[in-house]
Amino acid sequence: MVHSPRGERLTRSALVARHRPGSRFALSLRQAGRHSPAGLARLGVAAVVVLLLVVPPACFLIQAVSPRLFDQGASWLTWSNVSTAFTDGLGRALLDSVAVSLGAGLLAVVCAAGLAFISERTTAPGRGLLVVALWAVLLVPSYLVAVGWEEIVLKSGLLASMGLWNHKIQQTVLGPVGVAFVLGFKGTPFAYFALAPSIGALGGDIENSVRVHGGGRLDTIRVIAPLLLPALMSGFVIVFAESIGDFGVATTIAASAHFPVATYTLYESISTFPANFGVAAVVGWSLIGTVALALVLQNGLMRSRSFAVVSGRSRASAPRSLSRTGNTVAVGFAAALFGASLGVPLLGVVSSSLLVPFKGLHLSSFTLSNYKGLLGVSGLSGPIRFSAEIGLVCGLATVTLGAVLARTMASSRKGLAGKVLDMALLVAVALPGVVFAAGYIFAYNLPFLAHAGIDLYGTVPLLGMAYVANSIPQSSRIMLGPFSQIHDSLLHAARVHGAGWARSWRSGVLPLLARPLLWAGLLAFSGLFLELPISELLAPPGVIPVSVAILSVLGKANIGQGTALSVVAVAFTLGVVGVCLGLFRLIAPPGWRHWQRPAPSREPSVESDAPTAATPRSESASRSDLVGVS
């Protein structure tokens, strides 16, 4: 006998009589008409994302062919902006961008493959430090790496102080080769995180099966290399896309070497007076189109072939012990790579901030005057404070919204809203920051918004919105992996055993996501603290973010003070990261930190079978999840 909550007694026949199911068609109609609260929430999230991520760039990009749509010209449909853009040198800039990005992609993939092999397949010393170093490369913005190299090779730089300055070296570094190398080094972490799990997970059985069937080492490589193709391709495409959309190197090395690239062309179109949004939009389209082309090519290569090498039964091969020479080569390779991507440029920046120019390399040529000067120069401590505050607020907003989006996308039943979201975020990942910034400038400067009382143009909130919108795609992708790996059953188990919705999340799931959320937050904060293109284009008058301040001081030829500010900014970022990680170690309950640890050796217990597939994922998998690459 069933009772309703109101105590009504309902017999079986009464139940059946009261509710007779209709046809299947009627059933689906009922379903379609009923929206669950979760479905409505997903729809709401999708709407926010579309408004934040899609509408501003779309309003801007449509200007390429339809300036009249937003009263920016006379034509509803015109190709004049396209022809103007190409007449103004877009073709050359685009070719340059593609060329250096191809070079950067190749370099990054080769470097990353080497590092991944060392970390995943060998017992070379210092493997644990590789990931830390890669995160450091990831945290330092490209314009600082570029400035660091400039400060090494310029006539007033470190090489000159050491008496080693050479015109050819300067020409090589401050030219297309240097641009490609800096972008390649900067992209190496992305390629590594795409490659390492695959290299680590290539089952030992695959190698063994080649060997037992008579294959030598060369045959093994021949068999394994094609299996790595998806990882190689995705690593390459990620770096290519990052490089095409890069603004930091474009505005430093490329600009001072008069080597035009597409992002800088876009910047020039909207930063000169009068701003030409139509031409800028054409450049934006060309950037997006190039990345899209790379993705299409990647999909074409992957189509109709199976590269699945990881299954529940896969057995990873044991790391190989290297000989002394092998260890030396491995350590040397990693040291050279990180030296070029981080060590040398940081040395350049630090030396430039500490050395008096053209005085050689003596004890007397070292000075702290640039750092002292920072305190004295009006407004230079302000940027650090402003960027820290907005980085904190926007970083928290990014992680919160990014987590909601990651959860929505990871949900097994994401529905139409989830699919729209997925697509919007994928497109947004490919959108360079400079296009985002241009979109926000254009969209929030439209007269009808001001008439409607939405007057955000030239305000800090708009800068914050653009920061969040630009960071969300990356942040949500970073968290997508960890969120995807959380089985719904953990939530269901908590609900079934008496916990409400909020406590199920708080007790059952969030502790497992604490570390990825922390890393995503730190990455968002670091990225926003040192962010360049949006800051450059959207910072309201009187507000100077750190990156703008650095480039502004450097632009005034006050190199020492600019590099000193860079050093302080980077040190501040690393300090915040270090403090947060330290606090996590100190404050987080043991279970939050130790649940991924393997079983300790113990006496045989009731059962002695090894931990099963239900045990947590491997270290390398978690690392790849952290950057959202699988």
Binding site: S28, Q31, S36, W501, S507, Q596, R597, V606, A614, P616
Partner: protein
Amino acid sequence: MSAVEVADLTKAFGSKIAVDNVSLDVAPGQFVVLLGPSGSGKTTLLRCIAGIERPTSGRLGIGGVEMDGPGTHLPPEKRDLAMVFQDYALWPHMTAEQNVSFALRRRRYNTDERRSRSLLALAQVGLAGLEGRYPGQLSGGEQQRVALARALVAEPSLLLFDEPLSNLDADRREQLRVDIGAMVRRLGAAAVYITHDQAEAFALADVVGVLDRGRLVQLAAPETVYRDPASEFVARFTGLAGELEGVAGGFDGSHLTVDVSGHEIYGRPMLGEPPERGTPVRVLIRPTAAHFGGPDSPQPRSRNVAPGLSLSNGSANGSSPPRATLDAVALDSAFRGWGYDHVIELSGGRRLSGIPHSQRLRFESRAQIVLSADGCLVFPTYQPPRRTGL
């Protein structure tokens, strides 16, 4: 008052109907096993009972209180039940004890009592001393025991099991099956347990419900399901040695003669009235109905059937059921410890498997197969759509 009462429950995902108009009663203390292949809707039905899924239509009551109905849906935490998940669903950041004591929070015990009850529950499942371990530091079997302790510790009136043994190896599966059966019965709770393993279902269940494409096609005691399957699907899913096509012959009131390629065999007509003479029929043969003929051959045994199932029910008039003997060729033999299971081929190429013999028969050696009428289930080849529920 039923522990669980499900009335005309349907659950659809978009246009796909996962559970189709299922009705089901579970009495207090009753152990119901829902059996079906993957995709049959058993997990969805269980999740509807748990409150994880919201039914599209129909009603569901637990302990006499309506949980789901038009305009009503109580969330899982309000249903006062416990569940053991297929993937264990242990929180990896909590120790075994913390996992177990989580389920006690709704019981409003103080910390000491929660701890002592959790430790007792862990001891009962054989995990004393491992309470400080995290799930990642336990074996698969140990993890599932923690999940079992978590489900039992709060002594709920309803326990749900979602294929809890499917991730374990054979030894552990059997151990844990016995423990689950004993502990649930000791607790006196009603249980709904889903599995795709008929042996597991027959061993545990008071009542077996067989699901096929979202429909509950039979709900009965294990013996009934085995002896009188409601459909060919149920018969196949609960274990067959093989199938033969034939033509219905005479009916003697309890057994039907079937002509199979010129050989006469006997069987029990299913689905009510025996088919008319000359009607095409299909004979589904239980493994217990087939054995080798000849002086050295063993008699049919209760292999592959859970303890307690009696299969030699004899014919309606009390005499031994009629038997038929067919010529066969041995194709394969598998050592099973007690003897050998054989696959044989009858004339016409039809195969029967799982035929026992104490000796290994050589490949392609000739033999005689005896088919006992009680285990030969005769279905008409054409069956009108039929729904067998409660």
